[in-house]
C-alpha cells in the first residue's frame, strides 16, 4: 500500500458515496456531508473534490437523463471504486495509528 493523501473533504465525499448508494449524486453528497458533519460546504468544492477523486480513479461516474426539477439538467451519479475504498481504509488506519495510546492522555482529556 503506497502513501495515500486525502483531504478531509475528499474523505467525507468518499464516505458519503457508499452511504447514499443509488442516490449518490452532487446535491445528495453535499447535503449528506452538511447534515452529518455539520460543515457548510459549497457545491463547487464538492465537485472540485469529485474531479480530483475521479482523476485518481477512486470513484467513477455516469450521467442520467435531464429532469424538470433540476431546470432540465442531467444528474451525475458516483460509485466508489476499489482503490477509493482502499484509500479510505488507509486514511482511517493513518488516523488511528496517530491516535494510538492517546485516548487518556491528560492534555487531550482537557479537550473532551
Amino acid at each position: 500500500m503506497g502513501m495515500v493523501e486525502l483531504s478531509t473533504l475528499e474523505e467525507f465525499v468518499l464516505l458519503a458515496i457508499p452511504r447514499l448508494g443509488e442516490a449518490a449524486y452532487g446535491m445528495r453528497i453535499r447535503r449528506e456531508i452538511e447534515e452529518r458533519s455539520g460543515r457548510d460546504v459549497s457545491i463547487a468544492a464538492v465537485y472540485a473534490a469529485l474531479t480530483r477523486l475521479s482523476e485518481r480513479e477512486f470513484v467513477e461516474s455516469w450521467t442520467t437523463d435531464p429532469r424538470a426539477e433540476r431546470g432540465g439538467r442531467a444528474r451525475r451519479h458516483y460509485r466508489l471504486l476499489p482503490a477509493g475504498a482502499a484509500a479510505l481504509w488507509e486514511s482511517r488506519d493513518q488516523t488511528e495509528r496517530m491516535w494510538q495510546g492517546l485516548d487518556e492522555h491528560p492534555e487531550l482529556e482537557r479537550g473532551r
Binding site: Y25, M27, R30, D40, Y47, G71, R75
Partner: protein, 871 residues
C-alpha cells in the same frame, strides 16, 4: 413567486463552475433550491443560493490560479511587466496616448449616453406624447410660421381631451408663469408651474413629502395650494420636514404647501414660445386664471396613447373633440413623441461630438499601431536573442500580447481619470440647453465603455508590434522602411493623416463659423450696458406706469458715474415675444389679405442714445413725445426695406389698434434673440404713449462698481417695495450666452483637432526617425560623394510627405461628402469653405514637414566617416 433560483445568481454560479461540471452542479443547486423553497420558504431558499454562490468563489479562484500558473502566462506577465518597466515608450507613451483617446471618447459617450440614450426620466417615458394644435393658416406668416404646428392648448380644449378621449390612456396639462414670492424672505422672482391633477401621476412621480393636487383642486375653482420642488424646499424652507401645511405667499396671495416633489424632478416646456427648463413651485392650473376661455391657449398637453392605437387615429379623434365641424381652415391636432421633441435640438450637436470623438479614437488607434511598429523594428535584436534561446514565434507573440494587455489596462484606468476630468470641463463649458438639465457625471456605464474599448484597441494595435514570422520577413521589412515604411505602415500612416484631416477641417470650420458669428454686429454698443427686469409688485404702480418708469429713469441716471438710463419692453437678446400686425397708412391692406407683421418695442425717449443704436434718418424719440402729444413711431432699417422699398417711410404712419403713429425716424437693426437670425423688421413706439407694465431697465455707465449696482437696487426697492429685484445682467454676458453653443462647438472641435495634430506629429516623427536610422549608410555614402545636406534631407522626407499629401486629400474628400450633415451648425460659411479646408490641409502638411524634417536633417548632418565605419 417564481419557483426557480434567482436568475442573476444562477448565471454567476455558472461562471464560477468548471465547464465539465457546470450542467450537473447547476442542476444539483436547482433541485436543492426547490426543496428548500418548500421547507424553508422563498427568502431562506434564495439566501441559501446566494451563500452557495459566495462560497464557490474560493474553489473557483484556486482553480483559476492553478490553470494560470500552468499555462506559463504568469511568466509572460512577469516578462511583460519587466519589459514595460525598462521601455518608457511601452510603459508611458502607449498608455498615455490610449488614456487620452479613450478618455475623450468616454467623455463624449457619457454625455451622449446620459442625455440622449437613456430616455426621459418619467414612467413609460417612451410612450409620452405632446399634443399640439395645428394651425395651417399660420404657415405663410412671417413671425408665426415657425410655430404653426406647435400651438399650445386652452384649458377647455384640454378638458374635452381629458374627459372624452377614448384613445388616450391618460393626459395632463401644464403651463408656466413667472411670479413673485413675497413670503418667506424678500420678494424673489420664481418660475411657477401650473399643473392639472393628472400631471404628476402621468409622469409616474411620487411626492417626496405630502401629496399632489386632487382633481377637485384644479380648474376654475382652483384651491390656494402649492407643491414645491425639492430644490426650492431646501433653499427657501431649509428642507423643513414640517413644511407641509405651511403658508407661502405668491404675488401677495397665501398658498398652503401640500407637498414636495422628489429631488431632480424636471419638466421642460416644449412650446417655442417658452422653453422653460426649471421650476421653483407648482400650483393648480386655474389658480391664476386662464382656464375659462377656449381661445386662451396657455397650456401644453402631455398624453399617453393606448398601446394598440395608431397615432393617426388618436390625432383624428382629438381633432374631432377639439375642432368639431371647424376643420374649414384645416385646424387639427398633432401628437409628437416627447422624447424626440426633447432631444431634437441636441441630437445633431451630440452626433457631431460623438463623430469627432470616434475619429479621434481611430487616430489614437492608428498612432498606437505606428508606435508599436516602430517599437518592433527596434526590438529585432531582442527577438533574435529570444529566438536563439529557444522562444518560438508563438511565445514571442504571447509576450507582445501580454505587454499590450498591461498597457491597455493602464490606459483604460487612465482613460477613466481623463474622462472624469473632461466631463466636468465639458459640462462647465456646455451651453445650458445642450444637456437638457441632466446632471452628467461618469458612472458605471462609462467604465463599461472604457473596458469594452481600451483593452480591445490595445490588443489589436499590439499585433503591429509582433515580430515577423521568420527572419526573412523581418529583413524584408527593414528594407522597405527605407521608402516610407512597408505597406502596412504606409496604410496606417495615410489613414491617420486622413482622419486627422477630417478633425482639423471640423475644427477650422467651427472656428471660422464662430468668428463670423462673433463679428456679427448686434446693432448696438454693449459695453458698459446693464439690464434689469422691472416688474412692479404693487397694483398701485399700475395706475401711472409711464410716470413710474420716468421717475426710475431719472433717478438712476442721476447715480454718479451712470451716463444714461431708459426702459423698453424687450431689450436686445432678452426674453419676450412682441410681434404684432400693423397697417400702413398710405397703403391699407386690401380686404382678405394679411396685414404686415413686425416686432414691436415700446421704448423710453433715450433708448437709441443709451444703447448706441444709430439714427439713420429723421429723428429719435424725445421727451416731447408724451402721452398727450402726436403719436409717433421709429422704424428699423429692415422694416423700411421690407415695406417702403421705393417711397420714403418718413411722413407715412403705422396704424396699430386704430391709432396712426407717424414715422419720424429710421434706426439701425438691433438683434432680438439670436445672433444667427436675420435682422427682424421692428417698429418702436414711445412707451409714454403706449404704457406697459413690465419693462427692462437699460443703464449705461462708464464703469460698474458694486456701489453703483447697490444704488440701482436701492432706487428700485424704494420705488416699489413689493417688487422682486432680479440679478442685474450685463449685455456682454448676454452676447456671450447668445454665442455659447457656437463657442462650445469650436472649443471642443479645437481640442480634438489639437490632440489629432499632436498624434499625427508623433506618428510621422516616429516613422521618419526609423527611416532615417535605416538609411544611415546610404546617407553616409551620398554625403561622402558630395551631396548637400539639403538634397539628402529632401530625399529623406519626400516619401512621407507624399503619404501625408495622400492622407490630406482623402480627408478633404471625406469632409466634402460629410460636410452636408453638419452644415446647419455653421454660420456664415458653407461646409466646403475653401479657407477652412486649405488651412487644415496646410497645418497638417506643416506638421508633416516639421515631424519628418527633423530626423531627416539630423541624419543628413551625421558625419559620414563615423556612420560608414559602424560596420
Amino acid at each position: 413567486m417564481s419557483a426557480r433560483p434567482p436568475r442573476l445568481w444562477e448565471r454567476a454560479m455558472g461562471l464560477l463552475l468548471p465547464a465539465a461540471d457546470r450542467v450537473e452542479a447547476l442542476g444539483d443547486l436547482h433541485e436543492e433550491f426547490l426543496e428548500r423553497l418548500a421547507t424553508h420558504g422563498p427568502r431562506a431558499a434564495r439566501r441559501w443560493y446566494r451563500r452557495q454562490v459566495a462560497s464557490s468563489l474560493r474553489p473557483a479562484l484556486a482553480r483559476f490560479r492553478a490553470g494560470f500558473a500552468g499555462s506559463g502566462a504568469v511568466g509572460d506577465l512577469r516578462l511583460a511587466l519587466r519589459g514595460l518597466r525598462r521601455h518608457p515608450v511601452r510603459a508611458v507613451v502607449l498608455p498615455a496616448i490610449l488614456a487620452l483617446g479613450l478618455g475623450s471618447a468616454a467623455t463624449v459617450f457619457t454625455l451622449t449616453d446620459q442625455v440622449l440614450l437613456r430616455g426621459l426620466p418619467y414612467a413609460e417615458g417612451d410612450r409620452l406624447h405632446s399634443v399640439w394644435n395645428v394651425y395651417p393658416g399660420w404657415r405663410g406668416d412671417e413671425v408665426l410660421s415657425d410655430y404653426w404646428d406647435q400651438v399650445t392648448v386652452s384649458w377647455p380644449e384640454f378638458e374635452d381631451i381629458r374627459d372624452r378621449s377614448t384613445t388616450l390612456e391618460a393626459s395632463a396639462a401644464y403651463g408656466f408663469i413667472d411670479g413673485v414670492l413675497t413670503d418667506p424672505g424678500d420678494p424673489t422672482n420664481v418660475s411657477v408651474g401650473m399643473a392639472s391633477a393628472g400631471l404628476f401621476p402621468l409622469l409616474g412621480t411620487r411626492p417626496f413629502l405630502g401629496r399632489f393636487f386632487a382633481p377637485g383642486e384644479v380648474g376654475s375653482e382652483a384651491s390656494a395650494v402649492a407643491v414645491l420642488t425639492h430644490e426650492f424646499w431646501v433653499s427657501r424652507l431649509g428642507g423643513d420636514s414640517g413644511a407641509v401645511g405651511r403658508t407661502i405667499r405668491l404675488q401677495g396671495r397665501a398658498l398652503e404647501v401640500i407637498g414636495v416633489l422628489p429631488p431632480g424632478f424636471r419638466l421642460r416646456g416644449q412650446s417655442p414660445f417658452g422653453k422653460v427648463g426649471r421650476q421653483d413651485l407648482w400650483v393648480p392650473a386655474g389658480l391664476v386664471g386662464g382656464v375659462d376661455q377656449r381661445g386662451n391657449r396657455s397650456f401644453e398637453v402631455l398624453a399617453r396613447p393606448r398601446g394598440e392605437i395608431a397615432t393617426g387615429d388618436v390625432e383624428a379623434e382629438l381633432a374631432r373633440l377639439v375642432w368639431p365641424g371647424e376643420g374649414a381652415d384645416g385646424r387639427r391636432m398633432r401628437l409628437a413623441s416627447r422624447f424626440d421633441e426633447e432631444v431634437a435640438s441636441v441630437r445633431r450637436p451630440m452626433e457631431v461630438l460623438l463623430g469627432s470623438s470616434l475619429l479621434l479614437l481611430l487616430v489614437v488607434a492608428a498612432n498606437l499601431a505606428l508606435v508599436r511598429i516602430g517599437d518592433a523594428s527596434s526590438r529585432r535584436g531582442e527577438w533574435a536573442t529570444r529566438r536563439a534561446l529557444g522562444a518560438g514565434s508563438g511565445h514571442l507573440l504571447r509576450l507582445v500580447t501580454m505587454e499590450s494587455a498591461v498597457a491597455g489596462l493602464i490606459g483604460t484606468l487612465g482613460g477613466m481619470l481623463v474622462a472624469s476630468g473632461l466631463v466636468s470641463v465639458l459640462v462647465a463649458l456646455a451651453p445650458a440647453d445642450l444637456l437638457l438639465g441632466v446632471d452628467v457625471r461618469p458612472d458605471g456605464r462609462t467604465l463599461l465603455f472604457l473596458l469594452g474599448c481600451g483593452p480591445g484597441i490595445a490588443l489589436v494595435t499590439g499585433r503591429f508590434g509582433a515580430p515577423g514570422r521568420s527572419r526573412r520577413s523581418t529583413a524584408a521589412s527593414s528594407r522597405t522602411v527605407a521608402f516610407g515604411g512597408d505597406r502596412g505602415t504606409r496604410a496606417v500612416l495615410v489613414t491617420q493623416v486622413a482622419l486627422s484631416m477630417v478633425l482639423l477641417c471640423g475644427a477650422a470650420l467651427f472656428l471660422r463659423s464662430f468668428l463670423e458669428l462673433s463679428a456679427v454686429s448686434p446693432g448696438f454698443d454693449p459695453e458698459g450696458v446693464r439690464v434689469v427686469r422691472v416688474v412692479p409688485g404693487s397694483e398701485a404702480v399700475a395706475v401711472d406706469p409711464a410716470g413710474f418708469h420716468r421717475a426710475i429713469e431719472d433717478r438712476v441716471a442721476a447715480i454718479p458715474g451712470v451716463r444714461s438710463a431708459t426702459v423698453t419692453t424687450i431689450s436686445p437678446l432678452g426674453r419676450g415675444l412682441g410681434s404684432s400686425s400693423f397697417e400702413i397708412a398710405s397703403r391699407p391692406t386690401p380686404e382678405g389679405e394679411k396685414s404686415p407683421e413686425a416686432l414691436r418695442r415700446y421704448v423710453g425717449a433715450d433708448f437709441f442714445d443709451v444703447l448706441g443704436v444709430p439714427v439713420l434718418e429723421g429723428r429719435p424719440f424725445t421727451g416731447a413725445d408724451g402721452p398727450d402729444d402726436r403719436p409717433v413711431a421709429v422704424i428699423s432699417q429692415a422694416l423700411a426695406d421690407a415695406w417702403w422699398p421705393s417711397t420714403p417711410p418718413i411722413g407715412d404712419a403705422v396704424i396699430r389698434d386704430g391709432v396712426a403713429y407717424e414715422i419720424v425716424g429710421i434706426v439701425g437693426d438691433v438683434v432680438r434673440e439670436s445672433l444667427r437670425a436675420e435682422p427682424e423688421p421692428t417698429f418702436y413706439l414711445p412707451i409714454a404713449q403706449v404704457p406697459a407694465r413690465a419693462v427692462d431697465l437699460v443703464v449705461r455707465a462708464d464703469a460698474w462698481t458694486e456701489a453703483r449696482s447697490s444704488a440701482l437696487r436701492a432706487i428700485l426697492r424704494d420705488a416699489d417695495p413689493g417688487m422682486a429685484i432680479p440679478p442685474i445682467e450685463t449685455m456682454d454676458a448676454r452676447l456671450r450666452v447668445a454665442a455659447s453653443a457656437d463657442r462650445f462647438r469650436s472649443t471642443v472641435a479645437a481640442l480634438f483637432a489639437v490632440a489629432a495634430g499632436l498624434l499625427v506629429a508623433l506618428g510621422l516623427f516616429g516613422v521618419a526617425l526609423q527611416a532615417a536610422q535605416r538609411r544611415r549608410r546610404e546617407v553616409g555614402v551620398r554625403v561622402a560623394l558630395g551631396a548637400s545636406t539639403r538634397q539628402v534631407t529632401r530625399s529623406l522626407i519626400r516619401a512621407q510627405l507624399g503619404l501625408a499629401l495622400v492622407g490630406v486629400a482623402i480627408g478633404g474628400a471625406v469632409v466634402l461628402v460629410l460636410g452636408r450633415s453638419f452644415g446647419g451648425l455653421l454660420y456664415g460659411i458653407p461646409s466646403h469653405d475653401p479657407v477652412a479646408l486649405a488651412a487644415a490641409g496646410a497645418v497638417l502638411l506643416g506638421i508633416a514637414v516639421a515631424a519628418t524634417g527633423l530626423p531627416a536633417r539630423r541624419a543628413a548632418r551625421a558625419d559620414p566617416k563615423s556612420v560608414l565605419s559602424e560596420g
